[in-house]
């Protein structure tokens, strides 16, 4: 913090003086905010990529972008959204909230935290440098164009000339190191820095979810790094891991990638689960229903998710036994997920539901994630998947999970904790406009995709011929994309305006119950003057209701 000048005139700080405290910071709150801002910037970039794609697909045989450019767009859109929006958003929320929720002063390893952020940022910049440097000697293309899951042997030197694939490998690998660092930090913080009295069963559900999330990161990210190292060795050192001409296996890449890739989508959804588990109780004015069951469900999902990966490979010609096994394991994951949905509903039942914007996003989350889960069950039915795989149905499904689940959850969290982080309240009308436009736009774009899948439209095609029954649905989807863009613009305007001019919010604007609401808004650098001691999972409820504290019932 800059030291107050003793002179009469307030000192004007230069740009570098204002940036330095942020750039050099190891404070978890600053890093958390930086993660979120960087992620939102990448969200706008990836959103623009999506808009371009949708514009190209609005009508058949369109010429807005060339085929090569389109292929780069869907590759970069997917890679950016997963690694440069999803992962940093969850790291941002986690690093900001976990110490506050645990009653600690910072994360266990503050410098490692900073390393994680900068590794993510530089990894992202390295990936995007591909636009400039990816052509290599051949000038044969710029940014990576191999799809976000980069199947071999398309990614081998013979089929991907130039350096674009190498930028994909190195950029993503570097962000992966950042994610691993963050995961180690979260585990250590959660296990070692809880304030006295906060045993694991009294930890906020968000923290529980991020603890298990971090364990998943520890075991799921290294397989991706392994595969990427192998691919790099193939491309640059003549190795043959995925070189089918020399006895290498194209399927090995798929196995390794999806051993990472499937847990990855759970890594992405758990923070949303955590946020919803914090917001829904506060805006229903009741504690979460079935705390232990919620924790057990997440542990179960975490375990099961490591054994389902080959449901991405039902069409490669695996044996019937393999297909049946992976279909079964994938369907099993529906059980604990369903339990969570039921518990959220039971939390709302009998409560006093306040339909503020965070809660609106939570309700939208439950509805859309329910649909996403059910379309996931459809995909788990392997014979049905033989039709639906690699079609627009899958794109509809995973956008329902990622936007309808992850992004709605993140917006719920942003609106919920924005007053805490900034000390200001956002504009309610603009927020509601954001919500409704975004949900309507989202449904306009992604519901029709399921039907396009039924009509035989495959993924990753830059154009399509007329007369196949795809025109109207594609056009509607494009309209929806533009509606979403307007919604995001509302959000950005609201955020920027509210940070500067929003009404001052106090420490506890929502009358909530977890420790972060006991600090000022924004919290001081040291978080807590005195490290708190807790006796239940809702310490502020106990303080506000001394006649009827939670620890009598837990």
């Amino acid at each position: 913090m800059p030291i107050e000048s003793t002179a009469e005139q307030p000192r004007v700080f230069s740009l570098s003086e204002r940036l330095y405290p942020w750039v050099a910071s190891t404070d978890h709150k600053r890093l958390g905010i930086m993660y979120v801002i960087a992620a939102l910037l990448f969200l706008v970039v990836a959103g623009a990529q999506a808009l371009l794609m949708r514009t190209q697909l609005a009508v058949p045989m369109n010429h807005v972008v060339s085929p090569a450019m389109y292929n780069r767009l869907f590759t970069m859109h997917g890679t950016t959204m997963v690694f440069l929006v999803g992962m940093p958003l969850l790291a941002g929320f986690t690093n900001y909230l976990v110490p506050l929720m645990l009653g600690a002063r910072d994360m266990a390893f503050p410098r490692l935290n900073a390393f994680g952020f900068w590794a993510f940022l530089f990894g992202g910049l390295l990936l995007y440098y591909g636009y400039l440097g990816g052509g290599g000697l051949y000038g044969s293309g710029s940014a990576p164009d191999v799809g976000w899951f980069a199947y071999a042997p398309l990614t081998e030197r013979a089929f991907s000339r130039g350096s674009s694939t190498d930028y994909w490998i190195l950029g993503v690998m570097l962000t992966g190191f950042g994610s691993l660092a963050s995961a180690i930090n979260v585990i250590a913080t959660t296990l070692s820095l809880r304030c006295p009295g906060m045993n694991l069963s009294r930890m906020p559900l968000f923290v529980w979810l991020m603890l298990i999330d971090s364990w998943l990161i520890l075991i799921a990210l290294p397989p991706l790094n392994a595969a990427q190292i192998m691919l790099l060795l193939d491309r640059r050192f003549g190795a043959h891991f995925f070189d089918t001409q020399a006895g290498g296996s194209a399927l090995l890449w798929q196995h390794f990638f999806w051993i990472f890739g499937h847990p990855e989508v759970y890594i992405l959804i758990f923070p949303a689960f955590g946020i919803v588990s914090e917001v829904v109780p506060v805006f229903s004015r009741k504690p979460i229903f079935g705390r232990q069951a919620m924790v057990a469900a997440v542990v179960a999902i975490g375990f099961i998710s490591t054994s389902v990966w080959a449901h991405h490979m039902f069409t490669v010609g695996m044996t019937s036994i393999s297909n049946a096994f992976f279909a079964a394991s994938t369907m099993l994951v529906a059980i604990p997920t369903g339990i969570k949905i039921f518990n959220w509903l039971a939390t709302m039942y009998g409560g006093k539901i306040l339909l503020e914007v965070p809660m609106l996003f939570c309700c939208a989350f439950i509805f859309h994630f329910l649909i996403a889960g059910l379309t996931g069950v459809m995909l788990a039915v392997a014979p049905f998947d033989w039709q639906l795989h690699d079609s627009y149905f899958v794109i509809g499904h995973f956008h329902f999970t990622l936007i309808g689940g992850f992004v709605f959850g993140m917006f719920a969290g942003i609106y919920y904790w924005f007053p805490k982080a900034t000390g200001r309240m956002w504009n309610g009308k603009l927020a509601k406009l954001h919500f409704w436009l975004f949900v309507i736009g989202f449904d306009l774009t992604f519901v029709p995709m399921h039907f396009l899948g039924f009509l035989g439209m495959p993924r990753r095609i830059y154009t399509y011929a007329p007369g196949r029954g795809w025109e109207l649905l594609n056009f509607i989807e494009t309209v929806g994309a533009y509606v979403q863009a307007i919604a995001i613009a509302c959000f950005v305007i609201n955020t920027i305006h509210s940070i500067r001019k929003g009404r001052r919010a106090g420490g506890d604007p929502w009358d909530a119950w977890t420790l972060e609401w006991s600090t000022a808004s924004p919290p001081p650098e040291y978080n807590f003057e005195v490290i708190p001691v807790v006796r239940s999972s809702r310490p502020l409820w106990d303080l506000k209701h001394p006649q009827d504290p939670d620890w009598k019932y837990e």
Binding site: A108, I187, L193, P196, G197, L218, L221, I229, G238, S249
Partner: protein, 195 residues
């Protein structure tokens, strides 16, 4: 926020953050090595051309003994440090470093023979690909451990009181034990099963 109302529990002893940190890191590294081991096993017998493992691999007994002994010497170093016997600590740390260097040198010689005499490179066939990447990944980790041990040694020799860093040096030794355990698996897969 008042804490007067709630008594501090007497038995509040959460685990050491460093222990959790290094354990988590080792879990992630184990996952990484597991994938390369799986890759190695997957490609056994799938090379389309010579040389094949049975023809060119020689069991590296001596350097294995050196590496595994270095786990013992680092334990002895730690024991000395716990008793503030810095000179003895440096002696055993030096022994560990020396054994690691012998391991790396032995690997280097083995590779030289394979490349120059047997014409096996990473590009020769899938055996070469999986062999050099797996053994190389392990050797890289040995090197990193070695560098950290050298930093500790140089720090101490230039006057830094390493006895204050006993905890962190213990974490380094756990990393070192992990690297040795990985070698046991690599040895089994490459030189025993793989032939």
């Amino acid at each position: 926020m008042s804490t007067a109302a709630v008594p501090v529990p007497e038995d509040w002893h959460p685990p050491d953050r460093g222990v959790v940190g290094i354990a988590s890191f080792i879990v992630a590294e184990a996952a990484l090595f597991l994938m390369f081991l799986i890759g190695y096993l997957f490609y056994l017998g799938k090379s389309l051309n010579r040389p094949y493992p049975a023809q060119v691999l020689k069991t590296p007994v001596f350097i294995t003994i050196c590496l595994l002994s270095s786990s013992a010497t680092i334990v002895l170093a730690e024991r000395a440090l716990r008793r503030d016997a810095v000179r003895r600590f440096l002696l055993w740390l030096g022994a560990t470093i020396l054994l690691a260097l012998i391991f790396l040198a032995g690997t280097g010689l083995e590779w030289r023979e394979l490349i120059v005499d047997d014409h096996l490179t990473i590009a020769t066939n899938v055996f070469g690909t999986t062999f050099y990447s797996l053994v190389g990944l392990h050797a890289t980790h040995v090197t990193i451990g070695l560098i950290f041990m050298l930093i500790v040694m140089i720090a101490s020799l230039t006057g830094f009181p390493v006895q204050t860093q006993e905890r962190r040096i213990r974490f380094l030794s756990w990393y070192w034990h992990f690297v040795d355990v990985v070698w046991v698996f690599v040895f089994l897969v490459v030189y025993v099963i793989g032939r």
